[in-house]
């Protein structure tokens, strides 16, 4: 089903804002991770790691799913399709992979928060390089996805090529 132009623009706006919002939220999370490793103030370091889990559940996860759902709607509701163009397919794979890893990583953030909230834990135990590595990887993936959406590099899948041939033969 092809969306009406007004609805298509609305969904596109939602997709761009949630996707770029997710990227920005990950950049903020990356700063928290760097801050946690670099700050000399114990309370600030603990606070940085404590806030990571709620930021994950209330900002990153909702934005990830919003980006995925609006992207699916946008691709299925326009001539681009979900599986016709390689750039759309790779964007979908990046989005699904990043969301899956994020959901799995929430368990680690729970543990990171528990250690940060434990007064008996040394600061060296609280500091953790894992959030930095994961946020950097996520940021890289989301920048690649954004670049794919902007450049839209050429290349149709076998399914997409068959759809074009079918449409051409239907037209006579």
């Amino acid at each position: 089903m092809i969306l009406r132009p007004s609805l298509r623009r609305l969904v596109l706006t939602a997709h761009v804002t949630t996707s770029v919002g997710w990227l920005g939220a990950v950049a903020g999370f990356l700063f928290l991770a760097v801050f946690g490793l670099a700050s000399e103030d114990e309370q600030s370091v603990r606070a940085a790691y404590l806030v990571m889990e709620p930021v994950g559940w209330f900002v990153l996860v909702p934005l990830a799913f919003a980006s995925l759902l609006t992207g699916l709607t946008q691709s299925l509701g326009t001539h681009w399709g979900l599986l016709r163009h390689y750039w759309v397919l790779f964007k979908l794979l990046i989005n699904v992979f990043a969301t899956f890893v994020l959901l799995m990583y929430m368990k680690t953030l729970d543990l990171v928060g528990d250690v940060a909230g434990d007064p008996s834990a040394e600061l060296s135990e609280v500091r953790n390089v894992s959030p930095l590595l994961h946020a950097a990887l996520a940021l890289f993936l989301l920048v690649v996805a954004a670049a794919l959406a902007i450049y839209k590099p050429r290349g149709m899948t076998r399914y997409g090529r068959r759809a074009v041939v079918r449409a051409q033969s239907d037209r006579g």
């Binding site: 890893v101 799995m104 543990l111 953790n128 390089v129 894992s130 290349g155 090529r161």
Partner: protein
Amino acid sequence: MVDQSLPGWVKVFGIVALVVVVLFVVLLVTGGHGPGRHMLGG
């Protein structure tokens, strides 16, 4: 006429994606990754 050739960027992306997914699965299966694996104390 529809272009049948696979663009170079798709080949590069495909190989990178395959390597990342294989690495990810190997890390998960071998237990070398996952919750708590990065904790200094655990």
